[in-house]
């Protein structure tokens, strides 16, 4: 309820800011896209007896304006989806709805924001600020905006960031009709927290980042509700009960850029509830430019992630991927690869193709094929969810 008041207040404040400017002088950018999607599943109705097809519409809209000679900025970035089958996948989110004030070396930011930490292509284990929307994408890379007040201090030694984050948002999981989905439904009525303030706990984070020669370095600490809940089977309801422990995580991310070679590393140590864990993920990306005397580039990505928790979903996985960019007028590109569980035999093949077909139209084809998946692997629930998705984005 409080959140609604604050958002309304922010909205009125932003309107006041815009209205107080000389109307003719307001310079803004507004753009976005609407993207219908069709998915077909290869294994019929699959493990959970679901539909073998789905249709969905995704939209994104962006509005930016600078006020007072660029000293202030307002950003609104909204995403939303209407999904045919899964009501959990139908949503609207203000990923960014923020006001920024720029002082000489300090930036003050208030509102919803997306903060990305990390360097890897596949396993961004240090990225912790925003909550994932697993209904939108089961891999967890699609995030919700996080309300915050943040301060950035830009010093010659690097950047210092402070984040104060009220209003925790619970993780969204696919619903009963969502495909892929977990074997059991996550019960929304039994969510529990370690913190006595529950979702009203105010989370905090600090980060120092700098560029030194070929190295981009970030060191961060986060203290707050873990974005990733523990899920336990409730024998009575036969649903999953979510429990959010308090996470205290210290992380480091480094990228070294040496010519056509990129070397990437993300590592963390964290206390999650009562238990401490350690994680490390990294790899290399090498690009061959001008493949066989053409304008095409071929990137080879090898990444690995390790986590010392045995029950953690991604505790020993590797990725091998190829990224082909044609560098043509249509921006044609293809990313294809294999994700494999190094301690079992589970694996998944994926391919993502994209091409601009008109100045304001772009086509995307995503494919995901699950190989053999071990019954004790958490992705076992998705084994029969191999799919092909066609998306066409119309830009405005």
């Amino acid at each position: 309820m409080l959140k609604k008041y604050i958002i309304s207040f922010l909205f009125v404040f932003l309107q006041y800011l815009v209205a107080s400017q000389n109307a003719a002088a307001i310079d803004y950018k507004a753009y976005g896209f609407i993207q219908p999607e069709i998915t077909t599943f290869f294994n019929g109705d699959g493990r959970h007896d679901q539909s073998n097809s789905n249709q969905s519409i995704f939209v994104k809209g962006t509005f930016i304006t600078y006020l007072n000679n660029g000293d202030q900025k307002i950003t609104i970035n909204t995403t939303g989806r209407i999904d045919e089958k899964d009501s959990e996948r139908s949503y609207i989110d203000f990923q960014k709805f923020k006001y920024e004030q720029y002082f000489d070396d300090i930036t003050l930011k208030i509102g919803n924001e997306l903060i990305f930490w990390g360097v890897n292509e596949s396993f961004n284990i240090v990225d912790i600020i925003n909550q994932s929307n697993l209904a939108e994408d089961i891999s967890g890379t699609k995030k919700f905006g996080q309300p915050m007040i943040s301060l950035n201090y830009n010093h010659s030694y690097g950047n210092f960031d402070l984040f104060i984050m009220p209003f925790f948002k619970e993780r969204i999981f696919p619903g009963r009709n969502g495909r892929p989905r977990l074997a059991l439904e996550v019960d929304k009525s039994t969510v529990a927290y370690e913190s006595s303030s529950k979702k009203n706990k105010i989370d905090a984070a600090v980060r120092y980042s700098t560029v030194y020669d070929d190295y981009d370095i970030g060191i961060a600490h986060f203290y707050g509700n873990n974005r990733s809940p523990e899920l336990n089977v409730n024998p009575l309801s036969q649903k999953l009960d979510a429990y959010y422990p308090i996470l205290s995580q210290t992380s480091l991310d480094i990228q070294s850029t040496k010519g056509a070679w990129l070397y990437k590393l993300e590592t963390l140590t964290a206390k999650n509830g009562e238990e401490r864990h350690f994680g490390i993920a990294g790899g290399t990306e090498y690009t061959i430019y001008g493949l066989r005397e053409t304008t095409s580039d071929l990137g080879i990505i090898v990444e690995y992630t390790f986590d010392d928790r045995n029950d953690f979903a991604f505790n020993n996985e590797g990725v091998l991927a190829l990224r082909w960019t044609k560098n043509d007028i249509k921006s044609t590109s293809l990313l294809a690869g294999l994700v494999a569980d190094m301690s079992g035999s589970s694996n998944r093949f994926f391919a993502e193709f994209e091409q601009r077909i008109r100045d304001d139209l772009k086509v995307f084809i995503d494919m995901s094929i699950n190989g053999e998946i071990d019954a004790d692997d958490f992705t076992y629930a998705f084994e029969e969810d191999s799919q092909l998705t066609l998306k066409i984005a119309k830009y405005f």
């Binding site: 950018k29 753009y31 896209f33 962006t62 930016i64 900025k73 950003t75 970035n77 990923q95 960014k96 920024e100 720029y102 070396d105 930036t107 997306l114 990305f116 990390g118 360097v119 950035n152 830009n154 950047n159 980042s209 560029v211 070929d214 981009d216 990228q255 850029t257 010519g259 056509a260 070679w261 990129l262 690009t287 430019y289 001008g290 005397e293 304008t295 580039d297 560098n327 043509d328 007028i329 249509k330 921006s331 601009r356 100045d359 304001d360 772009k362 984005a393 830009y395 405005f396």
Partner: protein, 262 residues
């Protein structure tokens, strides 16, 4: 007798060679003067239009806007910030480059679809900029110290006399074996022929619409590239170019990319 004649000729020529520049020295001198023609701008803002034309005459236009900060250290390169406006699917993309004379450039890219700032490799010298006939090295390789030079003589074209210079890139991964430039008597580059790694003529660049800024700086506001091999044409136009506007040098730091980002 014959031997004596040769000796005589050699000795006769010797003083001349001592006093005059070699072709390499002369080439370097002209190239340096031409490069310095465009220096002293401090900083610069502009909108740029890129028109891509295929052999059938189909045209598409790309729009970017950019800021450049001149590096007052003569041994290091300039910094530039580019904001992409069209095609619409890349709107909001921001690229920051810190160029260097002998090392690879430092480059960061913000992609709206990913919502993250990525450090990218800049060893892609010969790659095409946004599907055009302009290679990354054509933007970053404007410093005369990135090439070995040789003066080839003077050449007439369109009733005008030009210095003809040959240059060879001395950085790695160039897509060119050599370039042949025509430079006018005001030290402005008029035309450059680019030869591919096999030594075949690849493309010709024409620099047009020269404007004199601050009474001393010549900048071409149109660049036309004709690819001889695939017959594509790229036209690059600078609009609303302003020099010495007083840009904060902190705008060219990695952390400032997010001030422009969506």
């Amino acid at each position: 007798m014959k031997f004596a004649k040769i000796i005589f000729i050699i000795f006769a020529l010797f003083p001349f060679y001592l006093s005059a520049e070699t072709a390499e020295e002369q080439g370097l001198r002209i190239a340096k003067a031409s490069y310095e023609n465009g220096r002293g701008f401090t900083d610069m803002v502009s909108d740029q239009l890129m028109i891509l034309i295929d052999p059938k005459g189909n045209e598409v236009t790309r729009e970017v806007s950019g800021k450049t900060l001149e590096n007052l250290d003569p041994n290091d390169g300039d910094k530039s910030l580019t904001y992409f406006k069209t095609p619409k699917d890349v709107e909001g993309t921001v690229m920051l480059s810190h160029t260097h004379i002998s090392d690879d450039d430092d480059q960061w890219l913000y992609l709206p679809a990913l919502g993250r700032v990525k450090r990218i490799s800049s060893s892609n010298k010969s790659g095409a900029f946004m599907g055009s006939e302009v290679a990354f090295e054509d933007f970053s390789g404007t410093d005369y110290r990135k090439y070995e030079w040789k003066f080839l003589g003077e050449e007439m074209e369109n009733n005008e006399t030009f210095y003809k210079l040959e240059s060879y890139p001395n950085y790695e991964n160039s897509g060119y074996s050599k370039r042949i430039s025509l430079i006018d008597n005001l030290n402005r580059t008029y035309k450059v022929d680019f030869y591919d790694r096999k030594g075949e003529l690849l493309k010709t660049l024409y620099l047009e619409d020269y404007v004199l800024y601050k009474d001393k700086i010549w900048m071409a506001n149109t660049m036309k590239v004709e690819n001889i091999q695939n017959k594509n044409i790229t036209i690059f136009k600078w609009l609303n170019r302003e020099l010495d506007v007083g840009i904060n040098k902190k705008d060219f730091e990695k952390s400032s990319i997010l001030r422009l980002a969506d």
